[in-house]
C-alpha cells in the first residue's frame, strides 16, 4: 500500500485569502484525486489530477477556484482560492491504480475559514 502525506494538516485562514495544500506519495502513481469532506457529508470529488495533463474537474468545481498542479508522479497541490467560510472543510488527496482498486487516502487537511 502507498503512504500519502499532506501539508498542512490544518489551518485557519481569513476570508479572501488562498491556501495551497500539498500531497506527497511514496511511490509513482498516474492518477491522483482531490476530495472535499464537509461536516456530516459524504466525500465529494473535486478533480482528477493526472501527471502531464490538465486536471479534470467535477461538476460544481472550477479551475479558477481550485487550481491543481501535478508536476510529477509523486506530488500534487490543490489551491483553494479566494476563500469564504463555505470552503471550511477537510480536503483529502487520494490515489487509485485501476478499476475496482482500493483507493488510498492522505490524512487530510482541515481548513477553517473565518
Amino acid at each position: 500500500s502507498a503512504v500519502i502525506s499532506q501539508k498542512p494538516s490544518r489551518d485557519i485562514c481569513q476570508r479572501g485569502t488562498s491556501l495551497t495544500i500539498q500531497c506527497q506519495v511514496d511511490s509513482q502513481v498516474t492518477m491522483m484525486f482531490w476530495y472535499r469532506q464537509q461536516p456530516g457529508q459524504s466525500l465529494t470529488l473535486i478533480a482528477t489530477a493526472n501527471q502531464g495533463s490538465e486536471a479534470t474537474y467535477e461538476s460544481g468545481f472550477v479551475i479558477d477556484k481550485f487550481p491543481i498542479s501535478r508536476p510529477n508522479l509523486t506530488f500534487s497541490t490543490l489551491t483553494v482560492s479566494n476563500m469564504s467560510p463555505e470552503d471550511s472543510s477537510i480536503y483529502l488527496c487520494s490515489l487509485g491504480t485501476g478499476e475496482g482498486d482500493t483507493q488510498y487516502f492522505g490524512p487530510g487537511t482541515r481548513l477553517t475559514v473565518l
Binding site: F33, E99, T102, Q103
Partner: protein, 113 residues
Amino acid sequence: AQSVTQLDSQVPVFEEAPVELRCNYSSSVSVYLFWYVQYPNQGLQLLLKYLSGSTLVKGINGFEAEFNKSQTSFHLRKPSVHISDTAEYFCAVNTRGSYIPTFGRGTSLIVHP
C-alpha cells in the same frame, strides 16, 4: 449513474455487542463495493471490498459484509465491537469500467463502555 445510501447517520452500541451498518446502492450496471473506515483526524482506509465471487467478504478488525444483489445491499457487520471501533464508516460503489467510487454519507459508529 450510481448512488449509495447509508441509512443510519449514527449508530450507538455498547462494547462487545454486535453491530450492523447498512448500505444500499443503486446502479444499472455491475458494481464493485467497498467499506472504508475513518478514525478521528485520519484519512480513510479500506476495511473490505467485494469484486466478485463469494458474496460474504471478510475484512480487517473482524468486520465482514455480505453482498446481496437482489436487495442491492452491502451491509457491514461485526459480532462483538470494541471501544477502538469508534469511527466513521463509509460505503462506496464503483461501477465496472470506472476508476472513481461514489461514497455514501457515512455512519458514525459510537461504542460505549
